[in-house]
Amino acid sequence: MKYVDEYRDGELAQGLAAAIAKEARPERRYHFMEFCGGHTHAISRYGVTDLLPANVRMIHGPGCPVCVLPIGRVDQAIRLALKHNVILCTYGDCLRVPASDGLSLLKAKARGGDIRMVYSSADALKLAQENPEKQVVFFAIGFETTTPPTAVAIKQAKAMGLKNFSVLCCHVLTPSAISNILESPEVRKLGTVPLDGFIGPAHVSTIIGSRPYEFFAEEYRKPVVIAGFEPLDVMQAIRMLVRQVNEGRAEVENEFSRAVSREGNLKAQNLVAEVFELRRAFEWRGLHTVPYSALRIRGGFAEFDAEQRFGEDYVSVPDHKACECGAILRGVKRPQDCKLFGTVCTPENPVGSCMVSSEGACAAHYTYGRFRELPA
């Protein structure tokens, strides 16, 4: 397939692997966090770790949209479907996220909730137009990549005067999550998470640009290399990070220059600013309540805010006691360190959110890589 196969070329990968092995100093260890689930998925699916030397280790970050969604948010969506009888639509990944009372959106659907999978916010808007007698709520999740399309849907709904469309807004912000990890006691004080640099988001950065990461590089002295989601992108970024570490640099570099600029997509940024404003605080799974880390719908568009329309407030719900999703999302633990991994918690019956999406650290490791831990 043109423009894709080029980034998955096995020969080039071998060349890069040799270069990384040569440049990585044998006397030290390198710990890099790939922020995004897209990178986690690529690393697992293509077996990238098999091509890295033993002293270069990848730590999975929190950048998986459904993984960071707390139980209480899914509960809210389920209440809208079951109690308020709305048509609740959302992205496919969301449907299996475990919620309270053993439910998930998929299970709520089996109990009679009208819950539908959509591919885009535009599909949700279309559903509202086609079902004027029903309330349609779009359960909007995701980082900066999925936020502009939600903004467009809200603006269009307003322009069309739609009275039966609203959005349960759970959009979150990447930079706040990165600061939260860098500020966490594990990284700052305890040193339990050695972190030598970040692979920065691909799609998120096409929107926000590379500039927001400059602060982390400067303030925390951590190199950031923004990389595409193809396996060669990831390999190239790892090589660039190894070089920065070796040379004592901490800069923002852009491997994904075919799509990311320093300023990002200004049109999208303006759209988002027009429709959304910062939430003072938002609860993340794993990172707890993070100040100014998510968006809510501005007053001018309040009629499209499902939380206001249906008066369904957020209620925080603690995670399963033994579930390590929180620590895994912060990079403190690996999936295989969790007692539930692969026993009680599997992709068929996920206990924690990281076992749901193929971008989740646990699901990716279970699905693609669990043979590595088992004796042959």
């Binding site: 697992s44 077996g47 098999d50 496919g92 999978m117 693609y368």
Partner: protein
């Protein structure tokens, strides 16, 4: 008044109603005017509750398989629920190594379903059965109220004859065996996806739906030691191989670069965030054969028009965990796991 006059069914604008399943005159008319003329054969013509059929001479055993078809949409590029319901069951019989002989078909129709669409479906079914040389010898029709069905569901059962000496089973794969597929994977799954209401996109992908008993017969006749045959329908190649690995208590190693996938299917999977390894096929064969026979098996498959795209994609080895693994085109290794739930698209 004309004696015994019944106004013919309106096959252009008419619709199924509850009376078509009531067992009365309307049902008899539906059978006489729609099903019988299209599917007609000597067995159906007997008009009994069941059919009496002869078996081939010589030593052998019966093989029986059944399959319910609930595909949506009912009509898709390259086929429809009618031919699919014939191919699906014939293939389940064929992959046991048997020659398919007879089919049964039962229809669950939803009140309000257009008779013109039903006619199209039965025509397609009849054509598929005729082409395969396997008659539909008995059938049944029920009607459910509007909203309680999805247009039409079709269940078919097939009976086949397995001559003595052929032993195929999912538990016969052993270390050293080779894994072959008869052609590119995922065509049917993506042809369906491209038509789903919420997702419609233009693509040249057509379903691979086809009856495979001819291909199977040629492979068996080539003298190759065949251990397992299976058609990778729901769950695709990935899930089907996991089923076999578990049944046989073995591991498998695939070579990603050797697995045939049409560029259009690969591209559609790419932008929907799906994996062709888990996309359904309805006209492809997985063959696990003795390692030393793999080239002969490949030649036998490729010599048949349905197997021109055949490839050797991996091998069987010992593994207490029964993992299906794959060397990626990128050079790493990974598990090819069972499909979890339905394939759901990713967000980012």
């Amino acid at each position: 008044m004309k004696q015994n006059y019944i106004r013919p069914l309106d096959l252009k604008h008419g619709r199924v109603d509850m009376s078509h399943g009531s067992g009365g005159r309307a049902m008899a008319q539906l059978i006489d005017e729609l099903f019988a003329p299209l599917l007609g054969n000597d067995y159906l013509a007997q008009g009994n509750d069941g059919s009496v059929m002869p078996l081939p001479d010589g030593p052998g055993r019966l093989v029986m398989a059944t399959d319910a078809h609930v595909v949506s949409p009912l009509f898709f590029p390259g086929g429809d629920i009618g031919c699919l319901s014939v191919h699906g069951t014939i293939n389940d019989v064929a992959v046991m190594g048997a020659k398919p002989l007879y089919l049964s078909a039962s229809f669950i129709l939803e009140e309000g379903f257009a008779l013109a669409d039903l006619k199209r479906i039965v025509e397609s079914m009849a054509a598929a059965a005729k082409e395969a040389g396997v008659p539909v010898v008995t059938g049944d029709t029920k009607v459910v109220e509007q909203g309680k069905g999805d247009g039409v569901f079709i269940s078919t059962t097939g009976v086949g004859w397995l001559p003595a000496g052929i032993e195929l089973s999912g538990n016969r794969a052993a270390a050293g065996d080779a894994i072959l597929v008869s052609g590119p994977i995922g065509d049917h799954g993506m042809a369906i996806m491209s038509q789903r209401e919420s997702l419609a996109f233009e693509s040249p992908i057509v379903s691979d739906t086809a009856a495979l008993h001819g291909l199977v017969a040629d492979l068996l006749a080539s003298g190759v030691q065949v251990k397992v045959l299976r058609d990778p329908t729901r769950g695709g190649l990935g899930t089907t191989l996991n089923e076999i690995a578990r049944q046989s208590g073995v591991g498998m190693m695939l070579q990603e670069a050797r697995i045939p996938v049409q560029p259009a299917v690969a591209a559609a999977c790419e932008f929907l965030g799906l994996d062709p390894l888990y996309c359904a096929c309805e006209g492809r064969l997985i063959a696990i054969v003795a390692g030393e026979d793999k080239d002969k098996a490949l030649a036998a498959l490729q010599a048949h028009p349905q197997g021109t795209g055949a490839a050797i994609v991996g091998s069987v080895h010992e593994d207490p965990h029964h993992f299906v693994q794959m060397t990626t085109g990128f050079g790493g290794k990974r598990i090819v796991d069972w499909l979890t739930g339905e394939q759901l698209p990713r967000i980012c």
